[in-house]
Symmetry: C2
Subunit: 206 residues, 2 copies
């Protein structure tokens, strides 16, 4: 294995209700140390959401200053609220050689790819069908009807982008999905940055 | 996991002497059933080489007919001899859902990518340095000086192409290299063809 200073990135996308957190939890013993990237948002915290666990909650002014300063790896404005990933903690985790896991949408994936393609692996995690997604969203009884309908609309929009991802993980059985996730996470760690590769070639030829 | 009719492709490249066969052997218990693609060539068998194990040996006329008939997935002419991969056994193995492993050069990798990019994963396997490669080639005492020098020249030409590969496996310790190979082979099996993905999306939305 190449000795390296830098870690790697694993982007996870997929509809809310796909079971991303459940899969990560089920796999966490086997995937080694990772840093789960927390997004920053200007929207108000919802019931039960916790600062620094679900999001970093900031003001619109503060977010816009960070945009100007180039402090975001990716960000987007959705329904009047900003959502983004701060570069600093990501870079710190990468420097520490960690696998950085993102739970972001299709658009966020494109932006991460554009900036850090060489060390990025991505997986789209989804229930087997749209109607199964609907069943799961209704079964958890946490979302109101309008939120459920919006999630289903988003999911329909996003499913067409699966081919942009390195892997698709169909969460039919959590056990199998977690097994596939372990493989994907281990493979993600084997990605080298262009810089590391160039150094390797130089040393190789000496 | 997606149900599918078709397998996936794993292309291995890297200098002769990198230890590709040793690594595959060391990993074979863990990577499941695979089909190792045998190349077809017009060059004469060397001492110890066996028809159907090392190569399929054919005449120049027969090879050129197969080129015209579009029977090769990839082929090249090197020093007056043809080398190529017949499509038929590859397609049969893919239809049977197997992982098809290729040991081909940088040029062959490009041609496979061009035709079957969606189901292809690739790894470049190499000793840690050029001088270590030279040591290994000399230690095995099977090649004459001119062959060794040609292999080293080829290796120098090919190492610059590592960034075209999904993974680089540095064969420093066989054990570690085999562990990485297992991850790469398992990840390769999770690749879906564009066709499978399109069918999935269609079914997903119903």
């Amino acid at each position: 294995m190449l000795s390296r200073q830098k870690g790697a990135i694993l982007v996870l996308s997929g509809p809310s209700g796909a079971g991303k957190s459940t899969i990560i939890s089920a796999a966490s013993d086997e995937i080694g140390e990772y840093y789960f990237s927390i997004s920053t948002t200007t929207r108000a915290p919802r019931m039960g959401e916790k600062e620094g666990r679900d999001y970093f909650f900031v003001t619109k002014e503060s977010f816009e200053e960070d945009i100007k300063a180039g402090n975001f790896l990716e960000y987007a404005e959705v329904h009047g609220n900003y959502y983004g990933t701060s570069l600093k903690p990501v870079n710190e985790a990468l420097q520490a050689g960690k696998l950085v896991i993102f739970d972001i949408d299709v658009q966020g994936h494109r932006l991460v790819r554009a900036k850090m393609n060489d060390i990025t692996t991505s997986a789209f995690i989804t229930p087997p069908t749209l109607s199964e997604l609907e069943n799961r969203l209704r079964a958890r009884c946490t979302d109101q009807e309008d939120v459920i309908l919006k999630r289903l609309e988003n999911a329909k929009d996003e499913i067409g982008a699966v081919s942009e991802y390195d892997f698709i993980i169909i969460n039919d059985s959590v056990e199998e999905a977690a097994e596939e996730f372990v493989i994907v996470a281990k493979a993600a760690r084997l990605k080298y940055s262009k810089e590391t590769e160039d150094q390797f070639i130089e040393k190789w030829l000496q």
